[in-house]
């Protein structure tokens, strides 16, 4: 009996020890100043330039926090499928996920809100430092802080200021259209006028010099896959004064309204003044034609051009003037004489901690290490090879950046100004699918597969209604309301 009691005591002691040790697993274990010694945190990231900062800091994270970072790279096309598969199966394969904030509707059930952490350490990660446009469009969902912004991506309007400043062109424009050449254009109608005005053939004069190549007034990135962005740049302002994707009360799609049709007509109209082949243009084709070729007058793109303002090629004319890149917010629309402008904030890359993570505290420590306002974070943003754009006041107002890259202040100021009118992308469950069906039908219309813009957008509305039904109209209505909170 005595032996039995001793045995029970020993077993209880060992079991208790195991349970105790297990319970301590997640808590910070101060050991030589490394609070998470021995913990491995896995992070799935967009392959390539987005992964570079994680690799650069891997060693520092190990040294400072004791955390081994397991970096899993995935192509952006595969990221959604790969992550969603693991998240829905709750495998815990990833502690931190990098994803496009538009997918939050699908990811939300599997993501750990960061509010408690922020409360606990008095916002050491610096949510207050993030511009409200990004905070609203990317981080918040249903009033909760679901993610931290990695990449403050947005869209800006670029134009050839060297051309727009030319006196002869200014006079000719005024004579033809009856108003001053707008620098920068404020409305989409002005963009049409300017695009038409500046589209000229090789051998003709541009800015008083002879063109060595054909010159085109405007260009979109119109390849199937991401052309919906370029439609939304019009859809949102054309839907002013209260742009919405759906009627918030009924979830009826507004994508086929009269205003939406006018927006698509504008897009088709501008195709006439675009380089041949824009229907196959992805990022690099537009960037190269506009920035390296000097053959495009106006375009909308991510912030890469703004950051690389000093690499703009001269106009494709003989003895070209000094190249100057004009930067502005995307054009708007006048309603009853009032101008409405919006800057679409790309639902770009954010990072979250998964609910299935076995080490959420360690994962949060990693996020804080990488993204809290610091010299390290500024270094990520300043490095154009990393692909992370500014999202924080501390970076937008950085003296160091201005000192390091003379002239960058203009781009930073213009973006800061444009983001005052930030507008979010769709963020409800299935957003990816809603965007893709819009993309497909816009692409079909531009390719001539729909006879009218109304027909194309009616088709989108029909599919959006089907998607609403699939996910549940009432549920989607509630989620749609969440995306504005």
């Amino acid at each position: 009996m005595r032996k039995f009691v001793v045995l029970v005591f020993l077993v209880t002691l060992i079991a208790g020890g195991i349970v105790f040790a297990g319970g301590q697993g997640e808590k910070a274990k101060p050991s030589g100043g490394k609070p998470f010694e021995g913990v491995t945190v896995s992070v799935i990231v967009h392959a390539g330039h987005h992964a570079a900062p994680w690799y650069d800091e891997k060693e520092n994270i190990k040294n400072k926090l004791g955390i081994t970072l397991d970096i899993i790279e995935s192509t952006p096309e595969q990221l959604y499928s790969k992550e969603l598969l693991e998240l829905t199966q709750r495998t815990g394969a990833y502690d931190i996920v990098q994803y496009n904030s538009a997918w939050i509707g699908d990811y939300a059930p599997y993501i750990l809100p960061l509010d408690n952490y922020v409360k606990k350490d008095n916002d050491a990660i610096g949510f207050n430092d993030i511009l409200p446009a990004f905070n609203k469009a990317q981080n918040l969902w249903g009033g909760k802080k679901m993610s931290i912004t990695l990449d403050g991506d947005t869209f800006l309007f670029y134009y050839r200021e060297d051309l727009f400043r030319n006196k002869a062109e200014k006079l000719a424009f005024k004579a033809k259209y009856g108003y001053e050449l707008p620098d920068p254009p404020e409305t989409w109608q002005q963009v049409v006028d300017l695009a038409k005005f500046f589209t000229r053939k090789k051998g003709e004069k541009l800015a008083g010099r002879t063109l060595t190549k054909n010159f085109y007034g405007y260009a979109d990135q119109a390849k199937r896959g991401r052309v919906y962005y370029w439609y939304l740049f019009r859809y949102v302002p054309f839907s002013a004064p209260n742009p919405q994707y759906f009627d918030p009360a009924t979830m009826k799609p507004l994508i086929n309204s009269t205003k939406a049709v006018a927006a698509l007509d504008n897009m088709k109209e501008l195709l006439k003044y675009s380089p041949p082949g824009v229907l196959s243009w992805e990022w690099d084709e537009l960037y190269n034609a506009a920035m390296k070729g000097g053959t495009v007058g106006m375009w909308i793109h991510w912030t890469d051009e703004g950051r690389g303002f000093n690499t703009l090629a001269p106009l494709s004319v003989e003895n070209p003037p000094k190249p100057i890149l004009g930067i502005a917010g995307t054009p708007g629309v006048k309603v009853n004489g009032k101008l409405y402008k919006y800057t679409i904030v790309d639902s770009a890359w954010v990072a979250s901690i998964t609910k299935a993570s076995k080490h959420p505290d360690a994962a949060y420590a990693v996020l804080k290490f990488m993204f809290a306002p610091s010299e390290r974070h500024l270094k990520f943003i300043m490095n154009p090879d990393y692909g992370w754009d500014p999202s924080r006041y501390s970076t937008f107002n950085s003296k160091e950046w201005r000192k390091d890259v003379p002239g960058i202040g203009n781009y930073l100021a213009k973006e800061l100004e444009a983001l005052k009118e930030g507008y979010p992308m769709l963020k409800i469950p299935g957003a990816f699918e809603y965007d893709d069906v819009l993309d497909m039908d816009v692409s079909k219309y531009l390719a001539g597969e729909f006879k009218t813009s109304q027909e194309a957008l009616d088709s989108v509305a029909k599919k959006w209604n089907e998607l609403n039904k699939k996910f549940g109209v009432d549920k989607q209505k509630a989620y749609y309301a969440k995306m504005w909170k």
Partner: protein
Amino acid sequence: MTKKGVILFLVLPTVVILAAIVIFPMIYSIVVSFMNYDLRIPKHSFAGFNNFTGILKDSMFYSSAIVTGIMLFVELVVELLLGLFIAMILVEIPFSRKIYQPILLIPMMVMPVVVGYVGRLIFAVRSGPINYFLNMIGVNSLLWHASPHLALVTIMILRIWRWTPFVMATLLAGILSLPIEPYESVKVDGANKWQTFIYITLPMLKPIITLVVIMRALEIMQAFDIIYVLTMGGPGISSMPLSLFTYLKGFRYWNIGQAAAAAWLIMIPLSILVTFFVKLMEKGEEIEEQK
């Protein structure tokens, strides 16, 4: 161990592996095709034939089927003719085989994604070398993959470039393994090269050609990478084949049920096609044996 036991012992592992990697996924995909299966929606209810009728009512399914049909016909015909032509040249000039055969096989080694990206560069409307050469001979620039009418042509050019070497290599191996006697007999009978090719080489090569056709047809039905990179099925849906259609349903829209249904719907004509070619091959072999 009894004889029955030995047989069971030897066969069982194969049956288990086969069941695990072939039969179970197939049965599971049939089950999924009858369900409203979306990974983002926790409940997967029974859908009956809705997934199948949904696909059959989708006009995009038919346009994708047409695109796949065009690819099947054009690629098979061009690759076979070109592959056979190059193989015959290499047979006729034996010393060139050692030099040209490895060179001709290079396209096969290039990753399809790379082919897609390179395709974007060489068929670029304004700066691509293809249009540059066309302009040099006085032909206006073509829109290639930017045009709804030429996007599929551009894809097929790249795919034919990539796959003709496979057809050539297989046919060349087939030609080189043909018996020499029939050639000697027709030589004695005074047949010229064309007659030898038509009446001796082609009939004897029929099983190899059929095999090539089956293998190529199966690959064409699955064509994906180059199209994904080059056009993403666009402009519009002008270059979207069935494989991309199924991918979109399954891995973009997460409608796994419909994707499974689409895959089964594609399986039916594919099975008929393969059975037809296999029968053709068997028939050819029977005739050969009777001779």
